[in-house]
Symmetry: C2
Subunit: 206 residues, 2 copies
Amino acid sequence: MTDLVAPGGGARAERSHRLGRPPSTSRAELEEVALRLFAERGFDETSVEDIAAAAGIGRRTFFRYYPSKLDLVWGDFGAGLDDMRTRLAATPPEVPTMQAVRAGVVEFNRIPQEKVEQHRRRLGLILGVSTLVANSTLRFSQWREVIAEFVAARTGCRPDDLLPRVVGHCALGAAVAAYEGWLQGAGTDLAAMLDEALRLLADGCT
Amino acid sequence: MTDLVAPGGGARAERSHRLGRPPSTSRAELEEVALRLFAERGFDETSVEDIAAAAGIGRRTFFRYYPSKLDLVWGDFGAGLDDMRTRLAATPPEVPTMQAVRAGVVEFNRIPQEKVEQHRRRLGLILGVSTLVANSTLRFSQWREVIAEFVAARTGCRPDDLLPRVVGHCALGAAVAAYEGWLQGAGTDLAAMLDEALRLLADGCT
DNA sequence: ATCATAATGGCACTGAGTGTCGAAGGAGGA
DNA sequence: TCCTCCTTCGACACTCAGTGCCATTATGAT
């Protein structure tokens, strides 16, 4: 959904193309180069021209791999959303709605041990760099929509009714609060943080 | 807090300046001109140059009244925040926390009858134009902070602990959900919508 | 009239993002 | 081998937001 039709026909250049000039780089390589530059000089201090030069491509070509500098940071966000939607839809009806939401969100954020540090760096950018904080809202609206659709299906109303909207916004809010707490504390566990935040929500924030 | 030191020394040119060349326009006038143009052609289709020309000032001068095109839409947001902070701090201790939050948020959004349409247009821009949706996050973080500070004071913890953060994020989420519902329905009442949304939150989103 | 002061606006610059178009570089067929 | 097709590449030029710099302008005070 969020995916751009990047050169090579897929997200990476791994699949051998059949026709035409082969892509000279890949999204994965661009991300690697860019995230390194961001870590060294900062996001705002790194221009697209810098990234392109470091990756050995032209500035114009960068925008054929990503529609903007911001989008590069998000990785495969869309794929995760699809997973969450599927998992929520498969929840047995006897599980209470908010409990299903909590489980779904926690599962959405499950990351393999070896990718924890990378995830931390990405989230640090997303929640720390003001340009990206702003942009995140647009990304997260799709996230909220997944939740709202699930709640709407459960309660037999439309996704744009008040209750599904409130749950979507609040579940996201709780998740972001957990992200912030996780980034703030050094050795904390993201899953536990999320679970706790969503439990607070389900208990009426008391 | 959000206020820029605009020409004239204040938010408007009403207070006669003491020295130097008098401002050639005011924030209020710029807002009027700009919001009219936004309504006619759309936000993204209206350049700062257009606004400046319509207001009879230079492009460069526009940026002395507002730091960006986005900031123009928000009016006196900062003043409202200070009110909410004060009102929350003055809440009697016997009022439950979430009830105080609900009352505070509803009060924050109280608008005089004659300004309802203008408010609707502003909110429509803020929640409808993607550039502004993105920017809103930054504004709303101050809003969340006011709530989080109150909850922290009530529960005797720090504003960056999990509970205050969750309440801040969720109260904002509920409020935004209410805004969306209000904009969506024609003759709905914003205060009632907000009250309902925050009641849902306090009831654990069930 | 002259001076101090503050707003104005023109100019030039950076940086994101976009349209266009010719060139490059592979695969497959003649 | 050479030609053709197809796709990516990258250069150029453009719009627009935002910023630094600085001469100009309009006022009140002396």
